[in-house]
């Protein structure tokens, strides 16, 4: 710590507030389906965090021959790496989630027979 103070002893500036009720939002007919959507996005963020770590490790191993946690945390990507990794990230997002943009208006029920002429 910077000094011996505990969190409770520190200068505070916050006051009371009015809480939003967004946590109660149900748009998909069942709160747990809404929750699943949140989980699916959260998993994407966790995967991307691991992917970033892997990319940095690969780079450090190939250029420095060793890697430590501190080297990973302190790593600053070059502009070229930033551009390439952002493109990879956006491609991953599209690859994984673009099914959500599928037109579902022609969706068929399980038991419906397909008719041919």
């Amino acid at each position: 710590m910077a000094d011996d103070k505990k969190t409770g002893e520190r200068t505070k500036a916050a006051s009371d507030y009015i809480k939003a009720d967004t946590d109660n939002a149900v748009f998909l007919g069942n709160a747990h389906i809404d929750n699943l959507m949140t989980i699916v996005i959260a998993i994407g963020s966790e995967i991307w965090a691991d992917r970033q770590r892997s990319r940095i490790m690969e780079h450090l191993l190939s250029t420095k021959g060793k890697v430590t946690t501190e080297m990973i945390e302190q790593f600053v990507p070059t502009d070229a790496q930033k551009t390439a990794w952002a493109a990879e990230r956006d491609a991953m997002t599209k690859r994984v989630y673009s099914v959500l943009a599928r037109d579902t208006s022609q969706g068929k029920p399980f038991g419906e027979e397909r008719k041919f002429n």
């Binding site: 910077a2 507030y17 949140t38 963020s45 966790e46 991307w48 302190q74 673009s98």
Partner: protein
């Protein structure tokens, strides 16, 4: 730019020797010996002006959520718009028919693509804020000690007023930021990183605020000695104005104590002489005719109609004759009529993203309020920020 961790090191070691805050080497050495938030060995530098997150994991998670937001705002929104058009067509409703918000919601809310798109947007927003909250609250001692170290430092001053009575309209968790602007010690931190996601990473250098400051009109006599940024938040426009007008006395006021505390921290880091004070925009406590320029950055859509009227009246009192009043916010004139999907999304933003006052902002007649208060209003130029409203008001010389 000074490193925030250096502030803490020096603050703890040499509290009276302010000059040594900027000397730094001993402080940096001390700072390196201190424990950092979990997963971090030492400060990770900056992304331009924005301090990097304390560890790679949160940086990466937030980075992904920004990408997901962009995906929803492009690909998914396109499909949702198409679905809305198809639904209207199937019901025999012309696309250009003006629907009420209730009608639009009733028609569109059960479509799977539209509902999933909306749900995903909101989930990403919640995940972003919750991730930031966990980071800052989980390492509260560290971040609070950084702010404490900066509180008494200059060159500008910080005025926190814990007993200030706040009107209820400012207490909402606007855009579902945890605690809103007043209710969380790390409101400023969260706002900075969160809004950078809103700008999809294109505001690492406060580019939008610097651009707005550089386009700010000045009084005809060219005199700019005092400037006020009302509802300054984390002080991005205040600091940009100081950079453009280095000799001016610049103030940023906001109801949110944690917001201006973070603003002050940033101004200390950047060595900018800007004063930040916790005050109400409708009761600024400044003398009559004090300021040459009074402005605000995208504030009014977060203010109640009553609060808006009171702000404008107060601005008229504190702007000097010939001075400028320019509240920058969303466009109010020349805005295309909302499509059904636009009405639906407007409701989502209002009700579920908790933009409590935005819909009223669009109809509360701010330009007329400015005129009625006694300002001469020019709605043609200059545009401070591309695509935003133009409300360039001058207080008449004889007022």
């Amino acid at each position: 730019m000074m490193d925030r961790r250096t502030l803490v090191g020096v603050g703890a070691a040499v509290t009276t020797a302010v000059s040594s805050f900027f000397g730094g080497r001993k402080a940096e050495a001390k700072a390196k010996d201190m424990p950092y938030p979990k997963g971090t060995m030492q400060p990770r530098g900056h992304m331009e002006r924005l301090e990097r997150f304390a560890n790679l994991d949160i940086e990466s998670r937030q980075d992904f959520l920004m990408s997901y937001r962009a995906f929803i705002n492009t690909d998914l929104s396109r499909m949702a718009n198409m679905r809305a058009d198809a639904i209207l067509k199937a019901k025999g409703i012309p696309r250009d028919k003006e629907l009420s918000q209730e009608e639009a919601i009733s028609l569109l809310q059960d479509d799977p693509v539209i509902a999933m798109s909306t749900r995903g947007w909101l989930s990403a927003q919640q995940l972003m804020w919750n991730g930031l909250k966990d980071e800052f609250e989980g390492n509260a001692d560290r971040y609070l000690s950084e702010m404490e170290a900066a509180d008494k430092m200059g060159p500008g001053k910080l005025e926190l007023k814990p007993d200030l009575k706040l009107p209820d309209y400012v207490k909402h968790e606007i855009h579902i930021q945890p605690g809103g602007y007043v209710g969380n010690e790390f409101a400023g931190h969260m706002y900075h990183y969160g809004t950078n996601a809103f700008y999809t990473g294109r505001n690492f250098n406060d580019e939008l605020h610097v651009g707005s400051a550089n386009n700010m009109p000045i009084p005809k006599d060219g005199k700019v000695l005092r400037i006020l940024d009302v509802g300054c938040g984390i002080g991005q426009l205040s600091m940009a104005l100081k950079e453009r007008f280095p000799k001016a006395e610049v103030w940023g006021i906001d109801v949110g104590g944690p917001m201006i505390r973070y603003a002050h921290l940033r101004s200390v880091e950047r060595g900018l002489d800007v004063n930040f004070s916790q005050r109400l925009g409708e009761d600024t406590q400044f003398p009559d005719n004090y300021f040459d320029i009074v402005t605000s950055y995208i504030m009014f859509h977060e203010v109640s109609p009553e609060g808006t009227a009171a702000h404008v009246k107060e601005a008229m009192r504190i702007v000097r004759p010939g001075g400028i009043y320019y509240p920058l916010d969303f466009k109010l004139t020349g805005v295309p009529r909302r499509t059904a999907y636009g009405q639906y999304r407007g409701w989502m933003d209002h009700r579920w993203n908790n933009e409590v006052w935005t819909q009223k902002f669009r109809t509360n007649g701010l330009p007329d309020m400015i005129r009625k208060a006694g300002f001469e209003l020019n709605e043609k130029e200059p545009e401070l920020l591309r695509g935003f409203g133009i409300l360039n008001a001058t207080k008449p010389m004889n007022a």
